[in-house]
């Protein structure tokens, strides 16, 4: 039986998250509390819009692994409140205030004399947690975290299925992601820690898959959610907008940009209100920043036209220099980082930052061998192409994913360079691995595609596309194992 998932419909979890996030922010911006009916409505909409096919993992060993990981994370999530700093003190605390029926007019949000650790943080995860806790209680609502981890595994598995990647490769890839210690072991950045990096990793993975497969509905929803998730979400949004037209689907890139523009236009005034600096935020700045994703898509699309490439690159350089000053006019979060990039970047620390990131990429105790496997897969596939003189492949190129990884790593480096000297050590130790964890879904998606090209596709020169898809289909039908 052909297991190919023919779906242009967005994933179930993405629809639910986007519905909750968008409607939740609208209600909060209008001064309303978040009612409990949001969650059932979101699930109903997601059920109607879900893709065809039964969600499942491939192979018994992978299923056992996933169940074991889910049970472990669920136990850690439900047994206690957040045991990690940011989860306890920021994201989940905001969720608890929302769950108490508070609106943005409540003292916690509106009174500048009331202590609020991170007033400018986006509200998507607190909204999700608030909704789940309204139905399941404060402890039960934390089932959200193992569900997000499960959704991340599906976010990697389902696009691989859509591309026709062999089921053994899918099983290996999901197993590899499920065994990344950072998510499954307790600690900062773990699935149950309450940090929003897992949610962001899920959204970024959905975004990467959407631009890879040209699925504009999913791309639009990702664009809508990214700025509402974390401050880094806006950075990933910009990356997707730039990479999509250059290396993948410009239509999906446009959809990401449109969703992102709507989200930024709605979120930036709310963020300014929460940071008590609404008077500092001009409507013009909001409009320009909201238009940035669309400008990036346009820039990428025009860059592909060779005739005007030099002019476009020049304009891009000028725009790139002007960009920090534009974003720096935002009174919180991204604005502050952009301002610091222009004036306070400590370029003398670039060696230390690069060395630390290099070490963390190979840090087995946290990230496993994720980035090492990716590097080895890239080398192996490249050498195989040299050996077999292959010109075609049955799965798309991983170039968009590598470009997204490159943008993500560059953003991490630039952000760390803007940290004050006394804080850099802390961010290098505690923050870098979490920023890199946001890219793990993309890493394993690329690994799955490369493993398929390396071990499944035919090595007959010139026949790769036809032979590979036929061979893969035969293997699936007969159940024969990989050679």
């Amino acid at each position: 039986m052909n297991e190919r998932l023919v779906a242009s419909r967005p994933p179930f979890d993405l629809v639910a998250i986007a519905f909750l996030g968008a409607l939740g922010h609208v209600l909060l911006a209008r001064g309303s509390a978040l009612p409990p009916w949001l969650l059932p409505c979101a699930l109903a909409v997601a059920l109607v819009a879900r893709p065809h096919g039964r969600p499942a993992f491939d192979g018994l060993p992978t299923k056992v692994l996933v169940v074991a990981g889910f049970v472990a994370i669920a136990y850690g999530s439900l047994a206690t409140q957040d045991r990690s700093w940011d989860g306890f003190a920021t994201w989940s605390l905001t969720a608890r205030h929302l769950a108490a029926g508070e609106t943005l007019a409540a003292p916690y949000f509106a009174n500048p004399s009331v202590y609020h650790a991170t007033p400018g943080y986006p509200l998507l995860q607190p909204i999700l947690l608030q909704q789940s806790s309204l139905w399941l209680g404060e402890a039960g609502g934390r089932i959200l975290f193992p569900l997000l981890w499960l959704a991340l595994l599906f976010a990697v598995r389902d696009p691989l299925l859509a591309m026709g990647v062999h089921r053994h490769v899918r099983a290996l890839t999901v197993a590899g992601l499920a065994l990344v210690p950072l998510f499954t072991e307790p600690g900062h950045g773990s699935a149950e820690s309450g940090f929003a990096d897992l949610l962001l990793a899920l959204l970024v993975t959905h975004g990467a898959a959407a631009i890879l497969l040209g699925r504009w509905p999913a791309a639009a929803l990702v664009g809508l959610c990214l700025p509402l998730c974390k401050i880094e979400g806006t950075v990933h949004l910009f990356s997707l907008c730039l990479v999509a037209p250059l290396f993948a689907s410009w239509r999906a890139g446009l959809a990401v940009a449109a969703g992102g523009a709507i989200a930024l236009a709605g979120w930036l005034p709310v963020q300014a209100q929460l940071t008590h600096r609404a008077a500092d935020l001009g409507g013009g700045v909001v409009a320009l920043v909201a238009l940035l994703p669309l400008l990036l898509v346009g820039f990428g699309a025009v860059l592909r036209m060779r005739r005007v490439r030099i002019v476009v690159v020049g304009l891009g350089l000028v725009g790139g220099l002007w960009l920090p000053s534009l974003i720096g006019q935002l009174p919180a979060g991204l604005g502050q980082a952009a301002l610091a990039l222009g004036t306070q970047a400590r370029w003398s620390a670039v060696g230390e930052v690069l060395a630390t990131i290099g070490a963390i990429l190979c840090w087995f105790r946290k990230l496993g061998g994720s980035f090492v496997v990716l590097a080895a897969a890239l080398v192996a596939v490249r050498l195989e192409r040299v050996r077999a003189a292959r010109t075609a492949a049955s799965v798309p190129s991983v170039a968009p994913l590598l470009a997204l990884l490159g943008c993500g790593l560059l953003a991490v480096v630039l952000f760390l360079l803007t940290r004050p000297a006394e804080d850099l050590g802390l961010f290098l130790r505690e923050g870098t691995v979490r920023y890199l964890s946001q890219l793990l879904g993309i890493v394993w998606l690329a690994i799955g595609m490369l493993l398929h090209r390396q071990f499944v596709e035919s090595d007959e020169p010139g026949d790769a596309g036809v032979a590979a898809s036929g061979r893969a289909a035969r293997i699936e039908q007969t159940g024969r194992s990989l050679p």
Partner: protein, 163 residues
């Protein structure tokens, strides 16, 4: 036959070079398989200790210490005593005055005391109306002139003053 032989001899060296490269590239998948197996093995080997044992220990310690004890388990004794006392004495609808660094320990205290709120000591006119201000007296501190307990925070520690 000079032409074809010359041509054949001229092609022999590059062909041999490509054959050697081709043979070497055949083993390229081996490192990939090796690191993939290493990653899977490492994750599986760590699972019982990292995911199960460590999690059970953390959960057990959290229940033994409580939310305040767990949050401030790495802080000094005075900080732990202040957090414990405040968590016990402050009512959910009260305001607790604070001063000092807003990063670090203060972040955890705000979460520990939820739904009570922390308010800046110097801006009493802006404090939310309709809420009591906490005025408890810490039993281990000597009698002081002021009646308003103010939690003074640094990044690592909490101290209590009366103003």
């Amino acid at each position: 036959m000079i032409g074809p032989a010359t041509q054949r001899n001229g092609d022999a060296a590059p062909r041999a070079r490509w054959r050697r490269l081709w043979q070497w590239t055949r083993v390229a998948p081996a490192p990939l398989a090796l690191v993939l197996v290493a990653h899977l093995y490492f994750g599986l080997a760590r699972f019982p200790v990292g995911s199960v044992q460590k999690r059970l220990a953390d959960v057990g310690n959290w229940h033994r210490l409580g939310a305040d004890g767990w949050s401030f388990r790495l802080a000094d004794e005075e900080t732990q005593r202040i957090a414990r006392w405040l968590r016990r004495e402050v009512r959910p609808d009260q305001l607790v005055a604070y001063a000092g660094d807003s990063q670090g320990s203060m972040q955890l205290l705000a979460a520990v005391l939820f739904p009570a709120l922390l308010v800046q000591a110097g801006s009493s006119s802006a404090w939310p109306a309709g809420r009591d201000v906490f005025r408890g007296r810490a039993p281990w501190l000597p009698a002081a002139a002021g009646s308003l307990p103010v939690v003074v925070a640094t990044r690592e520690a909490l101290r209590l003053e009366y103003r």
